[in-house]
Symmetry: C2
Subunit: 159 residues, 2 copies
């Protein structure tokens, strides 16, 4: 295995393991418990799940992998982050979106060649990328894995 | 910059950013608030801080970078994880340990050449490493960054 493949594997393995941990956690939490706050006065499980979907949806754009699957989640789960909002999707809807989004991301990721992960992502200009080659697609996965882990630590408090 | 250096930078940048986030968070939390539980019936801040120190201490061993700085933290913060224990160090002591440990890790990491991050870590045999070259030192940093992020998501609930 050449080193480029190895590096991509390191990052994607961690990303996939985090998604798996989230799946396992979601399978242990019933819909009622996802309506609870993770701690008094803090976010509810339903918010965290929608927030993860909204953030991961943005990866399609950043990685030039197509359009968002659920653009309607930007408003309630990103723009108005951490505010209680009405008219949220049902837990059942969010669960289905999560599962579907994971599958589509998996397919898109699998279609990328190792070298392509070292190309610039879409939020950096070609000029800036020349000076800052670490602002590549792989870095998007690294930072989003960190973000996911951060919220997994909160999610688990609902158990 | 050659690709090996770039890959190491991606991982170490994220690790350092997580440590920085933890520092910033600790600076906003007074000693009393670190004695609180992150959520009713869940871990206290003091436990999380000791747990992070114990886990990061193990990195010295896994990365062949010397001995643990605080081996006495293994019992209360890893072996008996998630149990309330008496005779814990003071918050002030833990803060000093955290700061010192971050500095020593930083020095050790800086002394490693990029290629050395792709050598096997100490918990895998040479034989297994031949078949599983992803079990390298860089992977230890990736998984510990994930672990740190998980608990940072909990730590922040103390604010």
């Amino acid at each position: 295995m050449i080193q480029t493949e190895l590096m991509v594997k390191l990052v994607l393995d961690r990303w996939n393991a985090s998604l798996k941990n989230c799946d396992n956690l979601l399978s242990t939490l019933n819909d009622d418990s996802l309506l609870n706050q993770i701690a008094p006065g803090k976010n509810r499980g339903i918010y965290l799940l929608g927030h993860l979907i909204a953030v991961h949806d943005d990866m399609f754009i950043l990685l030039a992998m197509g359009q968002k699957l659920y653009p309607e989640y930007y408003e309630p789960f990103l723009k108005h982050a951490y505010q209680t909002t009405d008219n949220l999707p049902t837990i059942s809807t969010l669960r289905n979106c999560w599962t579907n989004q994971c599958e589509v991301l998996h397919q898109k990721f699998a279609a990328l060649q190792p070298d392509q992960w070292f190309e610039k992502h879409m939020a950096v200009s070609a000029e800036d990328f020349t000076a800052e080659p670490h602002r590549n697609k792989l870095n998007i996965v690294i930072t989003r894995t960190s973000h996911l882990q951060y919220h997994l630590g909160q999610f688990t408090l609902l158990k």
